[in-house]
């Protein structure tokens, strides 16, 4: 049996599984060993049911596309019979009574959901410092954050304690940690993957997506989870193309746009250089590159923090101590139960966003904030629609800097919010995006290249990202000790 199965990709493991050289249980055992060795330092896992995973491994259908492949799951997704806390004390001890649609789809593709991964509480944050449970550290430098909110989903894949994971992306929560941890993270088009069973942060922005070591693996996982779901009214009823078939089409003839608004002062020079070099590589392979403009994206962060918090203020109202989740001790009356259960259950960033969202929806403020933000959103979507008349892909940095130090932005929410400056507009307009490793900073920290595609343009994303990845070996580098 080949050793170090935990270092292999889905595609590599599938080959071995199909040749019967290894069994799914071998992968679980190997991962378990890797997690035991590495996770105490990284802090990615909140929960694992190894026995259940081994039982599923016994029964795995190796003929299915992801047969026998363990996939780690961000704790914001419901997996039947397993805890789902969304990184919050509010859901301490809560056990999901049902599978999210994407989990059910993973299972029917033969995959084995294995382990629940840490995250910023209710997916609100860019560093995983907002988890109620534990810090997750960046495998490349454990004094740094892994990004967020799917920070642990990125860290585990990078640290080789997970083969692949599912994350969720509301303003960059897949792409930003993927960039910080040097892996591939794909945010699908809004509606491409069902949100049923994803604990909602901002319903009109949330999307589930794959976080993997390679672009090829991202295509395999996306293939399994994409598609229409009658239980999610916002899911798109469009056929799912063969994503793996798109990988090798090459970028020759593709048109790539560089938004002038995204190459601003304040970007770390190393990030800028790496991204520009990445674009050059695509040009070398036959893509044509031109400057484009996304004029309204400068309002994206402001609009995002109005829309996302408004939706969150309603989405998180159900956590009240009545039916499930945290309830305060000996409430004096109903009001006291609401007040104290929520005061005790939610962390500071969640409270900040609930209060902000409550404020922008308040009588007399709706037009000034929420309605105006929706207008901005329409304008941003129009910017992208215009741009995609001219180009097939938009290339940009994922983040202005590489991973920052733990604690650096913790006291400064505004600075933290700016970490998502290049990713948020995709969520507001619904378009898809991918982050692929494109270099390393002087400190040896990964840098990500973001490609943005038109609605349902995941094939273009995968095509561009794969062509780039195949010409480079950034994705092959391992963090220390992994």
């Amino acid at each position: 049996m080949p050793d170090a199965l935990h270092t292999l990709t889905i595609a590599e493991l599938r080959t071995l599984l199909q040749k019967r050289e290894i069994s799914p249980a071998d992968i679980i055992h190997d991962l378990e060993a890797s997690i035991t060795a590495r996770d105490p330092e990284i802090g990615a896992y909140l929960h694992r049911d190894t026995a259940a995973a081994l039982a599923a491994a016994e029964k795995a259908d190796l003929s299915a596309p992801l047969g026998g492949i363990p996939v780690a799951i961000k704790d914001v997704l419901n997996v039947q019979g397993q805890p789902a806390t969304a990184g919050s004390k509010m859901l301490r001890g809560y056990i999901s009574p049902y599978d999210a649609t994407c989990i059910a789809k993973l299972k029917s593709a033969g995959a084995i959901p294995f382990g629940k991964l840490n995250m910023d509480e209710f997916a609100m944050g860019s560093s995983n410092e907002n988890s109620a449970w534990q810090l997750t550290r960046n495998p490349w430098d454990t004094t740094r954050v892994p990004g967020g909110s799917s920070g642990a989903s990125a860290a585990a894949v990078a640290a080789r304690t997970a083969i692949a994971s599912l994350g969720s992306d509301t303003g960059g929560s897949i792409r930003q940690p993927a960039a910080f941890c040097g892996i591939t993270g794909l945010k699908p088009t809004y509606g491409r993957v069902s949100r049923y069973g994803l604990i909602a942060y901002a319903s009109s922005l949330d999307q589930v997506g794959p976080m993997t070591r390679t672009v090829e693996d991202a295509a395999l996982v996306l293939q399994a989870i994409a598609g229409h779901d009658p239980q999610d009214s916002t899911s798109l009823n469009a056929p799912v193309p063969d994503y793996s078939a798109a990988l090798r089409r090459g970028v020759s003839g593709m048109k790539i746009g560089l938004p002038r608004e995204y190459f601003i002062d304040g970007i770390d020079p190393a990030v800028r250089a790496a991204v520009e070099a990445g674009v050059k590589e695509l040009e070398r392979q036959g893509a044509t590159v031109r400057e484009i403009s996304l004029p309204h994206t400068r309002f994206a962060i402001a609009a995002y923090y109005i829309i996302a918090t408004a939706e969150a203020s309603a989405n998180l109202a159900r956590f009240d101590g009545v039916r499930y989740g945290h309830r305060c001790d000996t409430p004096a009356d109903l009001r006291d139960m609401y007040d104290r259960s929520r005061a005790e259950g939610f962390g500071p960033e969640v409270k900040r966003r609930i209060i902000l969202g409550t404020y922008v929806l308040s009588s007399g403020y709706y037009d000034a904030y929420y309605r105006k933000a929706q207008k901005v959103r329409t304008l941003i979507a129009r910017d992208f629609a215009e741009a995609f008349k001219e180009v097939d892909l938009i290339a940009s940095p994922v983040t202005p800097t590489a991973a920052f130090k733990i604690g650096k932005n913790a006291g400064d929410p505004l600075q933290m919010y700016l970490a998502d400056i290049f990713t948020i507009a995709n969520n507001l307009s619904g378009v898809c995006g991918i982050s692929v490793p494109c270099g390393y900073s002087a400190e040896g920290l990964p840098i990500g290249l973001q490609l943005t595609g038109r609605p349902l343009g995941e094939e273009d994303l995968l095509r561009g990202a794969f062509a780039y990845e195949q010409a480079t070996d950034w994705h092959r580098r391992l963090p220390q000790k992994s």
Binding site: L91, S96, Y196, D232, T234, T358, S362, Y366
Partner: protein
Amino acid sequence: MPAVDYIVTIGLEVHCQLNTQSKMFCACPSQYGESPNTLTCPVCLGLPGALPVLNEGAIRRTILAGMMLGCSTPPVVKWDRKNYFYPDMPKNYQTTQFDLPLCLGGGVPLYDMNYPKDWQKKIARPGQVISLTRIHLEEDVAKSTHMGNGTAIDFNRAGTPLMEIVSEPEIETAEEAVAYLNSLRQILVYAGVSDADMEKGQMRCDVNISLRPHGQKDFGAKIELKNLNSVSAVRRAIHFETERQAEELDRGIKQVQSTRRWDDDRGETTLMRTKEDAHDYRYLPCPDLLPLHTNNMVTEISRSVPETPHARRARFVGVLGVSEYDAGVLCSEKSLADYFEEAAAGLSKPKAVANWIINDLLGQLGSRGMTLEQNPIPAAGIRALAEFVETGKINGGQAKEVFVAMFDTRKAPADIIREKGLEQLSDTGFLDEIITIVLADNADAVAKIKAGNDKAINALKGQVMKLSAGKANPAIVGEMLEKRLKD
């Protein structure tokens, strides 16, 4: 100033559960009377991650109800979240419709028979139509039951499709409010969208009432009345509240916008909350549900809109020759009107069927304290009975006897007639013999008739009937007697 010196302005908000198979946003059965919390799922329990899906049947029913009430449906409608915390609301927001509801405009006609029986001679505004503001479609909340040391919540009801029908403030009296509710209920039942039974909680009503002195243009402070669980409670609560407000205004006590709770046992309202405690609902377009384009659905539904109660009454009078009053009685309940139509179909005298139903059937049911659902006689039975009379097989007196037997034994009229030997004698040879005997025995009467006293013929007819043991066909006997006496 007595109450009559004030203008009373009343608007009604009626919530009506729709009779769909499943709930508004999930596949759980929408049923009443199951064990608590057995008809639930992640969606209607508001579990983390669950998402709503619109129930198209509920949308269609609401559009149809709107059509029967003369409403229009905007081309695009949407759903919104109405935010407030309450334990019977699993998500702590209600998914409802804020600015783009399914129905706009329309009205509820107040017909005489919709008023309380004791008021039908005192109707101030005959033929009045109360305008509707809107009808929107939302989800019902769970049912809370207050126990000794806590509150139990049954989520079976949570998510039941609920129409909210909002009237303009155009109602002026308690009796008009009663007529409004009766008329609205009839129309909704005729539409087939709900049983709309207030006693079963399928229809619930909040009343907004304000008083202002004659001559004052602006409305007085709006007082909302809650916990009105029957039509009679609505009537009594409005009377109480009118008097209460008038009396306070007389004493110079200004009214403030507030919500009051009706106590049915004590027959009075008590203050629940004033406007200062009012919620800011922070309406938000529901991001989980896409706006709905209605044009195709409206076109499709408009092809098969059921008859309104009013149109049916008019048809019973105009086409079937039923009296205004009888048509009103028959159409008061859709099931009764359906029963009548089934019984009368194809008969030459529908009016006779109406009489059987109104005088005999409703009489029997009423005197035995039974409802129409418990009616033992199928429509086919009434129909057969009427046919026997119409073709002269039995006479009117015999028919009454047959009817009572039908009611008691549930047997078909043909069987009863056979068993009782009730078939009329139309055998002219046999009748001729009887007539010969009768004429011979009553020479005086024969002489009177021949002298021009036509009335005496009835006495002879009676004698013939008696001799035939009541079985003779009276019409034939009459004809034969006349013929013999003229010879």
